[in-house]
């Protein structure tokens, strides 16, 4: 049974069309058909949030939605951030992740950025609890949440200090095609004096297995 259909998405302000099978997930269409590899795939089961993108302005997990369901929607991926009016090269959120060391290994970063973007669009001055709630669907395998929270706080402060931007709509004239996939999209640049060679391991056994490893982490605030 081969049944494909053409879908049209407005991705980061640019209209893009592609043929998909009904079973094709949005995340695969974004990464493989549209060649926007900034959106990551982590757990593959809807737990980790690495694949978070905005569909019509709302954060969703693109591994839990079929591409066909997004037909006609506006999709924003991490590649679109640099074209936002409030961005000066980097978006304040991206800058915050750099300044506050929210990047760590960088794998969860695109999802964290999109979750953070959705939060700040709705609530420009979130407190720490609200930030933690907003990224509660995003796992960081380095468990670097503290710095991620600081990074989002940094962005909130920076945005508040900026002259009124238009709230973050995607610049229509931006070149958001594959060529625009900047450094933040394909993983962080190594820091100066810090060489990345070979495969990154954090040392924890099965650390990228996602929630299965959470059995050990019983929090104190459960009840």
């Amino acid at each position: 049974m081969t049944n494909t259909r053409e879908i049209t998405l407005t991705v980061n302000g640019t209209e893009r069309s592609t043929e998909v099978e009904p079973r094709r997930l949005l995340v695969h269409a974004i990464r493989e058909d549209l060649d926007l590899t900034g959106t990551h795939i982590g757990c593959d089961t809807g737990n980790c949030g690495a694949c978070t993108v905005l569909v019509d302005g709302e954060p969703i997990k693109s591994c839990l939605m079929f591409a066909a369901q997004a037909d006609g929607s506006e999709v924003m991926t991490v590649e679109g951030m640099e074209d936002l009016p409030e961005s000066d090269g980097l978006h304040p959120l991206q800058e915050g992740f750099h300044e506050e060391h929210g990047l760590q290994c960088g794998y969860c970063t695109p999802g964290m950025l999109m979750a953070g973007k959705a939060l700040l669009d709705e609530n420009p001055d979130p407190d720490e609890a609200e930030i933690r709630e907003a990224i509660s669907g995003n796992l960081c395998r380095c468990t670097g949440y503290q710095n991620i929270v600081k990074s989002i706080e940094y962005a909130a402060d920076k945005l508040a200090a900026q002259p009124a931007a238009d709230g973050g709509t995607v610049a229509i004239d931006g070149d958001a095609g594959p060529a625009a996939a900047g450094s933040a999209a394909d993983g962080p640049e190594p820091f100066e004096g810090y060489e990345v060679d070979g495969e990154f391991t954090c040392g924890a056994e099965n650390c990228c297995g996602g929630p299965a490893t959470d059995a050990e982490h019983t929090g104190g605030d459960n009840v």
């Binding site: 009904p22 079973r23 997930l25 949030g49 709302e58 954060p59 959470d214 459960n222």
Partner: protein
């Protein structure tokens, strides 16, 4: 893993959806998809056809009408979260929604889809039980209502016919001196319940409990009603000892399984505690007690 291939249908009205369900062999209904998509990908479900109801705008509502709070099949968890009506008058709903998964999932997942999924760990089934709710099933012969107690048969199995679609879930609009709450034990933020209890109390003019509803999550093969506890509460005035007794009765009626997160006796004890807390909050919200009488 990719889902097995399927035909994707996108009806734009309930009547078209129902005629599709009637004509197709064993179709699967896709609404929010936050549970179904992983099931398709793990090939726990392998339908030839998927009927995607997301384009049926007439099912996208959440409002009070005709004596009920009506939740259309496309109302997302996030719609409940954003609703002032819910925040003001439906304590159990307001308690439940932030406990459902995470913000991204709540943007897509639906309350009705969660109920239709009939996962014993689903939170909304217990809330509907506590509120004596019902679902509206629409099929080739039109609409019928199914009391929530008659819906859940087994895990992931309901009493609906194959060509029926749940178009709405509803609960009676709260009366005066009514309060409700939901408490849930989970391992981590956004997780499924290890145990959960929804409670709803209605008091008479005299401050006695006129009606009690208690639904339990994840402690039996389906969401279940704690009917012995409900009965014990009837006609009584709220007090900590009474709620403790109700908790014990709920625990006795629960039937949890031991697993890697805790053994059955631990979960029963949790049912006891969660029941007391939910009853305490419900009584407080009904305005009959000033402070929580629960531990």
């Amino acid at each position: 893993m990719k889902a097995a291939n399927f035909e994707h249908h996108e009806p734009t009205s309930v009547s078209k959806a129902v005629s599709l369900l009637e004509s197709l062999e064993e179709p699967t209904i896709l609404s929010g998809g936050q549970s179904l998509v992983p099931m398709l990908r793990f090939r726990l479900a392998r339908p030839d056809t998927v009927v995607d109801i997301n384009g049926i705008d007439e099912l996208d509502y959440l409002h009070e009408e005709g004596g009920y709070l009506k939740i259309g099949a496309l109302a997302r968890h996030a719609d409940v979260e954003d609703s002032e009506l819910i925040e003001e008058r439906y304590g159990s709903f307001a308690d439940t929604v932030p406990l459902v998964a995470d913000p991204q999932i709540r943007n897509r997942g639906t309350i009705v889809g969660s109920v239709a999924q009939a996962d014993p760990k689903g939170d909304w089934g217990s809330v509907l039980i506590a509120h004596d709710g019902e679902v509206v099933a629409t099929g080739p012969d039109g609409e019928r209502t199914v009391p929530i107690d008659e819906l859940f048969l087994l895990p992931y199995d309901t009493s609906l016919d194959e060509d029926e679609l749940i178009t709405e879930a509803r609960v009676p609009i709260p009366v005066e001196r009514e309060g409700s709450a939901y408490h849930k034990l989970k391992r981590k933020t956004g997780d499924y319940a290890m145990a959960g209890v929804a409670a709803r109390l209605i008091f008479d003019d005299d401050g006695r409990i006129e009606d009690a509803g208690i639904g339990m999550t994840a402690v039996d093969i389906t969401n279940v009603r704690a009917s012995d506890a409900e009965e014990r509460l009837g006609g009584e005035r709220p007090d900590p000892e009474l709620f403790a007794e109700a908790g014990e009765l709920a625990a006795e009626q629960s039937n949890p399984e031991s697993d890697e997160h805790g053994d059955a006796s631990y979960k029963e004890r949790m049912v006891e505690v969660l029941t007391q807390r939910a009853l305490g909050d419900a009584a407080e919200r009904a305005g009959v007690i000033k402070r929580r009488v629960s531990p």
